[in-house]
């Protein structure tokens, strides 16, 4: 059958569409001209501007984002692993409820999670800030980690546990020496996904943040909204892009190489 060229053409156009704005952003971060309509020559001055005193709140926002992402990914790794094991090993009415409650946060628009948490915190009189952001991030990350770890559990050989038990291993030893090492790539991949989701989140954070608790996406948003220091935004976006690539590349490697190790 002679394949039509049309789909290939569409794919090429789609890829151009996907990369055009990002490429432009990266190129402009090295553009001497303040306005992106002209090329004023290569410069690193926007990157240097990132280090100046005027932009120190960008760095405090970045530090807060990293802290929140780290703390929420670690917590959701624990919560997600526990619930994935529960969903995988038990079939009961409780697990059907558990399943529904775990999947809903993934399905509904994030805006709704943000607003309902804001209303909840206001009703309780909780003061908004880094703490409430952290709670919100753990809540949506836990579901995603569960799904990733559950995927890893699907290829789990139950005989390994039976063998360990036959050899006299206690439950604790089985968990620590058998189950956790086997699940580790899934848990780490889930944690990295949670990290990127947390660092990336704007909408939910926007609702549950308080005075003085600006994260990097919030900071960038307000700079974009007021068209302030656009070249500096390009520079920090490019750095951010590089960091995300690194994290995703790591998680890809972790999930890709695992099957080979199993088959050996």
């Amino acid at each position: 059958m002679k394949a039509s060229r049309v789909p290939a053409l569409i794919l090429a156009v789609v890829l151009a569409f996907l990369y055009l704005p990002i490429l432009l952003l990266v190129i402009n971060s090295f553009n001497e001209a303040r306005y992106s309509s002209t090329w004023g020559g290569f410069t690193l001055k926007w990157y240097k501007a990132l280090g100046t005193w005027e932009n120190r709140d960008l760095w405090s926002a970045a530090t807060r984002s990293l802290f929140i992402a780290l703390a929420s990914s670690l917590s959701s790794m624990v919560l997600g692993t526990l619930s994935a094991c529960a969903l995988h090993w038990y079939r009961s009415r409780l697990q059907r409820i558990n399943h529904g409650v775990l999947y809903l946060p993934i399905v509904i628009p994030d805006l709704l999670m943000g607003i309902s948490l804001l209303l909840f915190f206001v009703a309780l009189g909780t003061s908004l800030g880094t703490g409430t952001i952290l709670i919100a991030h753990i809540t949506f990350c836990a579901s995603f980690v569960t799904v990733v770890v559950l995927g890893r559990l699907q290829g789990f050989d139950e005989n390994v546990i039976a063998a360990a038990r036959d050899l006299g291993a206690s439950n604790w030893v089985i968990v620590r020496r058998v189950i956790l090492p086997l699940l580790a790539p899934g848990i780490i991949a889930g944690g990295l996904l949670a990290f990127t989701l947390s660092v990336d989140d704007y909408v939910i954070t926007f609702f549950v943040t308080g005075p003085g608790s600006t994260t990097l996406p919030l900071k960038i948003y307000s700079m974009v909204k007021h068209s302030k220091d656009l070249p500096v935004i390009n520079a920090i976006s490019t750095l951010f892009l590089a960091l995300t690539f690194l994290v995703v590349w790591l998680s890809q490697r972790l999930t890709e190489h695992q099957p080979n190790r199993d088959s050996r």
């Binding site: 306005y35 697990q95 805006l111 309902s116 948490l117 209303l119 909840f120 009703a123 836990a142 909408v203």
Partner: protein, 283 residues
């Protein structure tokens, strides 16, 4: 209680309790708050009222709800129309090429969401290369803006949601038996007709998933209309944010959110019912 059951509860309780406290209860709290009066300090007063619900009749809200549904549906249709041929091609390719191209589709979405939308703001900016170039070529009027209109909102919505359409369709296309298309051609169907009558029904499950994965987040859009839309392109998400954080009428924000939730649950319900029917039929 036996050991088995005790272990199950130990494994289930931490996460389930967390989600009950910070997800299930807040969702119900939202429903309760929608019947409360707002106080002048931006908080919630005791007592019950239907005020916030009656205010939904304010002609602004139905217009904005309808615009939200319309823009989300158009975004979904465009995304599916682009994703179908892309998935068709990716599914037909050999392993190595397929993996590389799939990666190329996903990579742009590792970028921060706000930054991706901001990049479009730069691209479509009145002083930007694109508009200047188009004006120079005489393709658009010098007064035409590429930003702050419905076209810009739709373009960026398609841009940000496209991978959610491509990935499930690709997963379905990967399982599709392409030799069926050859059979159809041997029987005299032309290429386009064969694709429409055999490939499209063949990946219907992927189409359904893609539809839900684009439509649902699109309905909850807030950032895109805020950054690239004009005042007449606001969606329900913008109104929710304005009520919650702008003029701080929390009960009104709650009623609008419940309206959005109701609209969102519709596609989820459709997918759920179709899946259940198909499972019942295949039994």
């Amino acid at each position: 209680m036996n050991q088995h059951r005790k272990n199950e509860i130990l494994l289930t309780a931490p996460t389930l309790l967390w989600l009950v406290v910070f997800f299930v209860i807040p969702s119900f709290a939202m429903l309760l708050i929608s019947f409360r009066p707002a106080n002048v300090y931006g908080g919630i007063e005791d007592g019950w009222t239907l005020g916030a619900w009656q205010a939904l009749g304010n002609p602004d809200y139905p217009i904005i709800l309808w615009r939200t549904v319309r823009l989300s549906l158009i975004t979904t249709v465009i995304c599916l129309a682009i994703a179908l041929p892309v998935a068709f091609l990716l599914g037909r390719l050999e392993g190595k090429w397929r993996g590389t191209l799939l990666m190329l589709v996903i990579v742009p979405f590792w970028t921060n969401f706000v930054i991706r939308v901001a990049a479009w703001r730069v691209l479509l900016h009145p002083e930007g290369m694109l508009r200047q170039g188009l004006v120079h070529l005489g393709l658009i009027h010098p007064d035409t803006l590429l930003l702050y209109n419905e076209g810009a909102v739709l373009m960026v919505m398609v841009y940000t949601h496209l991978p959610f359409a491509i990935l499930p369709l690709y997963a379905a296309a990967e399982r599709f038996d392409y030799s069926l298309l050859e059979a159809a051609r041997d029987l005299g169907a032309n290429g386009f007709r064969a694709v429409m009558r055999i490939f499209v029904p063949g990946v219907s499950q992927g189409l359904l998933t893609a539809m839900a994965l684009v439509l649902i987040p699109a309905l909850g859009s807030y950032v895109i209309p805020d950054l690239v839309g004009g005042t007449s392109d606001e969606m329900i998400g913008n109104k929710i944010a304005q009520r919650a954080l702008g003029d701080r009428n929390l009960p009104q924000a709650a009623t609008l959110s419940i309206a959005l939730l109701a609209i969102t649950l519709l596609p989820i319900l459709v997918v759920f019912l179709i899946n259940r029917r198909e499972r019942a039929e295949s039994r």
